[in-house]
Amino acid sequence: MKLSSYTILITYFIASLGYLSVYLVDGVGAPFVAATGALAASSLYFNLKGRKVVHDLLWNILAAAVLAFFLTDYFVLSGSLITAASRMLTLLLSLKLFGLGRNSDYLLVFSLVFFQILAAAASTVSLFFFLLLALFVLSGIWAMIMFTVRKDWQDSSRKELPAVEFGWPFFISVIVVSFVSIAVTLLLFFIIPRMGLGLMDRKTDNPLKVTGFSDRIDLGSIAPFKTDSTVIMRVEALNRRPGLIYLRGSAFDHYDGVSWSKKVKKDALVKRSPDGRFYLKAPGGMESRSLALKILLEPIDTDYIFTSTGAYAVEGNFSNLWAEASGALRLPAPPYSTIEYRVWSNPAPLNDAPASPQYLDTSYIDGTPEGVKIRELAGSIVGDEKDGLKKARAVEAYLRKNFRYTLNPKTDGKKPLEDFLFRSKEGFCEHYATAMAVMLRAAGIPSRVVNGYLQGQWSDLGGYFIVRQSDAHSWVEANIGGAWVTFDPTPPSGVTPAKPSRLFLYLDYMRLKWDRYIIQFSLADQGRLAQNIEGRASGLLAILKKPTGLFRSSTGRVVVIIVLSAAAVSVILSLRRIAGAKRRSKTPDFYIEMTRILKKRGIQRRPDETPLEFALRLNNREVSFITGAYHEQRYGGAGTDKDFMEEVKKTLEGLKNTRR
């Protein structure tokens, strides 16, 4: 391929990476990227014909216009520096593609794309970014190689650059080196020390919208989210316990007929204890059996964080926490970035502080005409049962059995609870939870409605749960004998969620690792990494001190075999190298052979003699011929052809066989 079409090809490839990068920048917008991308694509026509449309003067005028656009964009339209700058870079790139000619034009294109990628780096957290960066490195290496060759050639000669055959070995070696470079990039990435403080922390402009966690929740507001598969968080259970994990968000204590809200407002500030954890209450001697979760929460538009039921400690990178009376936890402000934290909770409910009378509040039932019917229903379900737990189980079982799960219940929204209980007898988690909480209160059991998420989908790849918007859920907590117990009256929806594809699980796993180890990588992680390496090194040291231990494990044996064979190979290689270096001495083999034959007969060249003088002294036909051949080959640069070598060989044989 001609170098010029090669260059155009690679330039457009790199430019397309620029457009994709800009697409990742918040606020630039797909229409803008599509329009400028289409403009750029049309420039390909002119470049393939070798025509430069935008000449220097026009370019300067256009560049000034783009700068003016940038200023308007920044101060009037977007107001964001990165967005405005990305748009400016994209416009410049689109225009420059119409004016390719000199080396510097191409260099400018590559620089613009580089800065677009830089802008994306400042704005996105997407895994896609890494793909773009890797492709930019791979193609950029080739582009830079070609341009350097072109420039070097132009510096030394005025002639047209001839076609350069790079050749397969070189091509492959560059590809290998490029991948090495990406590996080195990652290695350096983990090694370069982090400051541990971000003066301008990464924030996203559009966190995920979630529902169920405001001060007042209308019944039915979760429904639209039940079909949204956006991932909200990923939960890793550090020690698996049997049973479903309920991720509590917010809890409500007051129902007014259409919505739930909070009446008990006794928020307590939790301070970080010296060991870095936030203790919510005493663990109660159950640490060994407690459930530990590691949660990676996507940026969402609420300040609630999610914990498992019965949480007693939280560890995370926040300054302080607010604990509500219901046990819900709030950050001082919505994080607007991905956060990671750990939660420890008790598997069994414990005695808490005495329940507030608000949890027995039945003012709604008492004030509504159908309140009597609700009380009657509750009474009929509970019967003469005296035990609180049994009462609650009965209500739970009744609701699970006699009602139909649907996301579109028949209700006008004015009396959703009554519609659910007495008319349509269908609904979803919010209706079930509301009905149970209200009926428990009618039966004299303190109760509240909790909004949060179910554990979601299990990914066996990374060993974590993928929690999505559709896992949003409502359930009930009832205070039985002084302890809060979780009840879930909602029957299974009957629709088993589609099993995620393998590809999705892989992608999600990569996204998790990307988030965890690239985006969230911190000084603390580096500390952990260093400790880990130190631990392994000391383990290695212990093995070296007592090497016999190695053979006990099969991995140890494999390691020993690998190390030994590597050592053997390297020894063989270096021996060959040394031998090769000897063989490559400038004296040809046949001359060395001759000296050997002569030496056997006690004839040796004196150190002060040149080969020629030596031959003259011996005055032997064969020796003279070989000396001549030696001179010809070493100094004349000739004598490698077959006939000649054959002749030399024969002469050597002759010399060997002559008797003296």
Partner: protein
């Protein structure tokens, strides 16, 4: 904490510090007594204009990465750093096992460009070398054009010519060649010095100057430059034409008679013997001395070219008269190495009959 803050600033540009150290060390000149420094870095490295930009951008992004704790900026910084490593690997593969050998013309004259044959070979087994320059390591009194080579295939050799101009006469030791490249990214110029000590003898300049003409005119045979045809004029006889004879020597009249081509043979002119006398007095003005050396050489050359038997007389050396190129070489060699004698005076050249 402060220590923590400083660390990234040091470790991130560590490769650069190494380069800097190399530059500082590489420029250190060995003490006059020593032949070469004990430890010489095998490669030299310097930035191009693009390389400086690259470094600047890298540092800027590095600072903003530290400032924002944005890991993707760290990722870009490390990408750029790894590109430097890649650049180092590829440029190393370009320079590795590449060597150059030079062949000089037999006669080199001070001040006139000599055409030097530069053979560049790539002894690598698989990888070609691209886009590099071979030039003479700088030495005082030497001006040499670099040779640019686009590609040498593995196991192949490429031959180019280069013009070397020597500014001094005498024995000249060429330190070796420097192979350097901006390949692959044009960010750095990496070079390696190949020790290939070669000695050449630079003869004095043979350029005919005004003063040379004056000397020739005042010489024993009068105006040499007007009597261009110095050979004898009396015809000795005729003989059959041989290949290579000058067509002007054909005796057309006899050729017509004999119906074959006959050429004239001339009586050999009586060989004229001269001495070029060079009073190599010591003078404070070294330039004047060099000029005188050049004059002596140019005059000797002029006489030899006209078939004279020429000898050289200086205050220190005397070469008996002789003819032909070998004699000229002998004289030029003597003049190439001549140094001012112990006596003070102004160096001058004249010609006298032997």
């Amino acid at each position: 904490m402060t220590l923590m803050n400083i660390r990234p600033a040091i470790s991130a540009p560590l490769p650069w510090l190494l380069v800097l150290a190399g530059k500082v060390y590489g420029k250190r000149k060995p003490a006059p007594g020593k032949r070469r420094p004990l430890l010489k870095l095998p490669r030299s490295l310097s930035f191009t204009r693009e390389g400086k930009w690259f470094l600047g951008v890298l540092l800027l992004i590095g600072i903003s990465a530290i400032n924002t704790a944005n890991n993707l900026l760290y990722l870009i910084v490390t990408t750029l750093l790894s590109l430097i490593i890649v650049s180092g690997l590829i440029s190393e593969s370009t320079l590795r096992k590449v060597s150059a050998s030079r062949t000089f013309p037999r006669e080199i004259y001070r001040g006139s460009p000599a055409i030097v044959r530069v053979a560049v070979s790539n002894r690598k087994r698989f990888l070609p070398s691209f886009s590099f320059k071979v030039e003479a390591q700088s030495a005082e009194g030497l001006k040499a054009d670099p040779v640019y080579i686009l590609k040498v295939a593995p196991g192949d050799e490429v031959v180019r010519t280069s013009m070397y101009t020597f500014g001094v006469r005498g024995k000249f030791t060429l330190p070796g060649v420097r192979v350097s490249t901006r390949f692959p990214f044009g960010l750095f110029v990496k070079g390696k010095d190949e020790r290939d000590p070669l000695e050449v003898i630079v003869f004095p300049s043979l350029k005919v100057t005004k003063k040379t003409t004056v000397i020739l005119r005042s010489g024993p045979s009068g105006d040499l430059f007007t009597s261009v045809k110095g050979d004898g004029t009396d015809i000795y006889g005729l003989r059959d034409i041989n290949e290579g004879d000058d067509a002007r020597l054909i005796h057309w009249k006899s050729a017509a008679k004999a119906s074959k081509l006959l050429v004239k043979e001339f009586e050999e002119e009586k060989v004229k013997k001269v001495f070029v006398v060079f009073k190599n007095f010591s003078t404070g003005d070294s330039e004047a001395f060099e000029e005188a050396v050049d004059e002596a050489s140019a005059v000797s050359n002029a006489f030899i070219e006209r078939g004279y038997s020429v000898g050289l007389k200086t205050l220190s050396v005397e070469i008996p008269p002789g003819r032909g190129r070998t004699q000229l070489t002998r004289i030029l060699e003597a003049l190439a190495f001549i140094t001012p004698a112990d006596k003070l005076g102004s160096p001058r050249v004249r010609v006298e009959n032997a």
